[in-house]
C-alpha cells in the first residue's frame, strides 16, 4: 500500500471538516449559554437542607399520657422570604417499660394524602387519631390502624428537654429516621 492510498482512506473531506468544526464551535457556544441557565433552574433540587433550630414549646410538666394539642410557630427561611409557619403537635409524655420519661410529639399530617388528623373527635373511633378525608385511623401512639388508608405511622417531631424542664420541638420526621 502506497502512502497515497493510506492518506485516501483516512481522508476527511473539506465538507466534513467544516461540518465538524462548525458543529463543534456551535455546540460549545450553545452549551456555554444553556448550562448556567439549567444549573440555575435546578438549584432547588440540589440545595442541601439547612439545619433548623428547635423552638421552645413550654414546660414539660403540663403534658400527660393523653395527647394534648399544641400550636406553635416554626421559623422558616423560604427563598428570599423569612416568616413563621404555624405548626401543630399532639404531645404526650409517659413512662416507658424501663421507667424512663418519654416524649411523643406527633405531627397531625396524615400519611395517606396529607390531610390533618384530630385526636378523639369521631364518635365511632374514640381514643384514636382520625382523618376526616378518607377515614384514616391511628392509635394513641400514632401507629396507623391496618385496613385504613394510611400506610405508615404519623411523623414525630424531634425534641429535646433542657435542665429546667422546657420542651423544645424541631422538624417532624418519619419514624424510621428518628
Amino acid at each position: 500500500m502506497s502512502e497515497n492510498d493510506q492518506q485516501k482512506t483516512n481522508d476527511v473531506s473539506r465538507r466534513q471538516f467544516l461540518n465538524y468544526t462548525l458543529m463543534g464551535v456551535g455546540g460549545f457556544l450553545v452549551a456555554g449559554t444553556i448550562t448556567p441557565m439549567l444549573r440555575f433552574a435546578i438549584d432547588p433540587v440540589l440545595k442541601v437542607d439547612e439545619e433548623t433550630d428547635m423552638v421552645a414549646i413550654g414546660d414539660i410538666s403540663k403534658y400527660g399520657p393523653e395527647p394534648t394539642r399544641e400550636d406553635f410557630q416554626f421559623p422558616v427561611k423560604d427563598g428570599w422570604a423569612e416568616y413563621e409557619l404555624p405548626q401543630t403537635a399532639w404531645i404526650s409524655v409517659f413512662e416507658n417499660d424501663k421507667g424512663e420519661r418519654e416524649v411523643l410529639a406527633l405531627s397531625p399530617i396524615c400519611k395517606h394524602l396529607g390531610c390533618t388528623v384530630q385526636w378523639d373527635t369521631h364518635e365511632d373511633y374514640p381514643e384514636h387519631f382520625y382523618c376526616p378525608c378518607h377515614d384514616g385511623l391511628y392509635t394513641k401512639d400514632g401507629i396507623n390502624v391496618p385496613g385504613t388508608p394510611p400506610t405508615a405511622p404519623l411523623d414525630v417531631y424531634q425534641y429535646k428537654v433542657d435542665d429546667k424542664g422546657t420542651l423544645y420541638l424541631g422538624k417532624a420526621v418519619p419514624r424510621e429516621e428518628l
Binding site: 440555575f40 427563598g79 428570599w80
Partner: protein
C-alpha cells in the same frame, strides 16, 4: 441514529424542503467575511438576533425566581443573584445582553443606512426595523425598573417625567405608565407585564416580518 430519526420523520412529514426554505440559502460573496473581511459589518443583524435569543432564554429563567412586587422584588433579585447557583451569570447575561443588544442594533442600523440597503424595494423592512428599535428600547426601559433598587426607581422616575412633559397628553401618558398616582406597586407589575409579555410578543412578530421580508427580497447588492 440521529440520521435514522430524521429520516423517519422526513419520510412522513417531508420536512427537508421546509428546512431548505429556512436555512439553506446562498450567501452572496460581498456579504461573506471569508471573501472580504470588511463584510463583517453584515453580521451585526444576525448578532443582534443572537443576543435577543440569549435575552429570551436568560429572561425566562430569571422569572423562575423573580417576583414583581414592591416588598419582595429587590429581595428576590438579591436571592437569585447571590444564593442560587450561577445566579450572577444568568442575571449577568440578561444585564449585559440588554446593553449589547442596543449597541449591535445601532451598528446594524448604521450598516443598513450607509450601504443604502433601505432603498426601494426594501423601505418596508426599514420601517419594521425602526419599530424593532422602539420595541427593544421599550424592553430596556421597562426591564430597568424590575430590580427595584434606587437606580431603577429614579431612572424610571425620570422616564415618567419625560413622558409627562409631552404637550396635551403628558398627564395621560404619566398615568398610563405608572398605573396610578405614584410610581409604586402598580407601576412595577405593569412594567413587568409589558416587559415579559407584551413587548416580547411584539418583538417576535416584528422579527418574523423582518426575516420573511429578507428572504422574499434577498440581500441588497454590493456598493
Amino acid at each position: 441514529m440521529l440520521q435514522k430519526l430524521y429520516d423517519w420523520v422526513d419520510e412522513r412529514l417531508d420536512i427537508t424542503p421546509m428546512w431548505r426554505d429556512i436555512a439553506d440559502h446562498e450567501v452572496p460573496e460581498h456579504v461573506n467575511p471569508a471573501h472580504h473581511f470588511s463584510a463583517f459589518v453584515y453580521c451585526f443583524g444576525g448578532l443582534t438576533f443572537f443576543i435577543v435569543v440569549i435575552q429570551f432564554l436568560s429572561g425566562m429563567f430569571l422569572t423562575m425566581y423573580y417576583v414583581p412586587d414592591i416588598v419582595n422584588a429587590h429581595a428576590s433579585v438579591m436571592y437569585l443573584q447571590n444564593e442560587v447557583a450561577f445566579g450572577a451569570i444568568v442575571r449577568g447575561m440578561h444585564h449585559w445582553g440588554a446593553s449589547v443588544v442596543i449597541v449591535l442594533m445601532f451598528l446594524h442600523t448604521l450598516r443598513v443606512f450607509f450601504t443604502g440597503a433601505y432603498k426601494k424595494p426594501r423601505e418596508l423592512n426599514w420601517v419594521v426595523g425602526v419599530l424593532l428599535f422602539l420595541v427593544i428600547l421599550g424592553l430596556g426601559f421597562t426591564g430597568y425598573l424590575l430590580p427595584w433598587d434606587m437606580k431603577a426607581y429614579f431612572a424610571t422616575s425620570v422616564g415618567v417625567e419625560i413622558a409627562a412633559s409631552i404637550p396635551v397628553i403628558g398627564g395621560l401618558a404619566e398615568d398610563l405608565l405608572t398605573g396610578g398616582t405614584i410610581l409604586g406597586a402598580e407601576t412595577l407589575t405593569r412594567f413587568f407585564a409589558i416587559h415579559v409579555f407584551f413587548l416580547p410578543a411584539a418583538l417576535m412578530a416584528l422579527l418574523a416580518a423582518h426575516f420573511i421580508m429578507i428572504r422574499r427580497q434577498g440581500i441588497s447588492g454590493p456598493l
